[in-house]
Point group: C2
């Protein structure tokens, strides 16, 4: 089967130890969907029917706080599971998810995953670990960001995208407004501080294009503000 999860090169190590029969079940229970940049994958409050896995692209997880503003909880990178796995707790999505870049998402029937958990103990244990990790990461990031001043937060975000794109030069996939929503500050201040960093020759910016010129100093700022 050309669409087999067993042969998928984007597969998470979570699925590494499944047997033939389990892979067959997984392959049957999944669909692969493409989402264009900007499109919405799911909305807060909607029923959870599937377990989502990001193959390629970049997503944002967010919550609407009022009509004009969103609170971005986190960014999902390829090979991550999506939705904080509240799948096993709540019956409705706690957060909305949308695509920051054209993305390819594996949509696996939630019942199939629950089945795997029940039948395959080591899969369950792996899943617990993976879930722990994602949650710890998101919480850790939030706590971290709140300890920093605005300069530190901007530096942190620039470094985060460096990690994602594995490069000092990249097109930032979010607007200044979205950066603000991600690190709890105001759009004007995001812009202002980016300009300051430019003037200080720490970064080069041209619209969405970012180049980190002085990595060391940026890391200092991320750490100490």
């Amino acid at each position: 089967m050309e669409n087999s999860c067993e042969l998928c090169i984007y597969r998470s190590y979570l699925f590494d130890n499944l047997d033939k029969k389990e892979f067959a079940l997984l392959t049957l229970s999944k669909k692969e969907l493409e989402f264009r940049k900007g499109s919405i994958i799911c909305r807060e409050g909607e029923k959870i029917k599937s377990f989502l896995y990001l193959k390629q692209g970049l997503l944002k997880i967010y919550k609407n706080v009022d009509n004009r503003r969103e609170q971005i909880i986190g960014i999902t990178k390829p090979k991550d599971f999506i939705g904080l796995l509240s799948a096993f707790n709540e019956t409705t999505h706690l957060y909305s998810i949308s695509a920051l870049e054209d993305s390819s998402v594996c949509v696996i029937d939630i019942e199939a995953i629950k089945n795997l958990v029940i039948k395959d103990g080591s899969f369950a244990l792996n899943l617990l670990g993976k879930m722990s990790k994602i949650n710890d990461q998101i919480l850790g990031t939030r706590l971290n960001i709140n300890l920093k001043n605005l300069r530190g937060r901007i530096a942190y975000i620039l470094l985060m995208f460096r990690e994602i794109y594995k490069s000092e030069i990249y097109d930032i996939p979010v607007s200044r407004k979205e950066i603000a929503e991600l690190i709890e500050m105001r759009t004007e201040n995001v812009i202002r501080i980016l300009s300051e960093l430019r003037k200080d020759k720490i970064i080069r910016i041209e619209g969405k294009s970012i180049e980190i010129l002085d990595l060391h100093r940026l890391e200092q700022i991320a750490e100490f503000g």
Copy 2:
């Protein structure tokens, strides 16, 4: 066996569906420890050897940010599992835990729990749900607190303890400094705002003793600042 988990009235529903053999294993693998107010249950960085369950009392989960300051991540209520269950991800504790009140903690060998996960699929599924819930709660609380102004945060905390003690009158189990560390503000401002709320006749305070006089207004403040 008098110490049996099967007969424990403080037991979490997580363990409800275990069979006789599983209960026997659980009972054998657990110790029940008492911690005096102020004593430390575990320290950030220590090896995780057990799965902790709070029977009675109140704990705080925290991180040291610098020599003088702690960042309190959350408060654990009875019948909660402790340590954000990073047990399944990290091998060392991500956070420290100490007792805010005299507390009784069940310490279960982590390998016994892993064994249950592997052998008993429905236990695994339950655990995933429980874990999801705790993580969602903690993250939700953090996000929520950051949206509020200082007045709103104080109101929120006062209402949180009302929930815990199920009463409008209670002795607050944390110092003003700890309140500050829990809701990301400064000790002086905690004290100042408590005084303001007292002057406004919304609460009565006398040292650690708190009485909520105007619940409605306090709820308004918690919501809108």
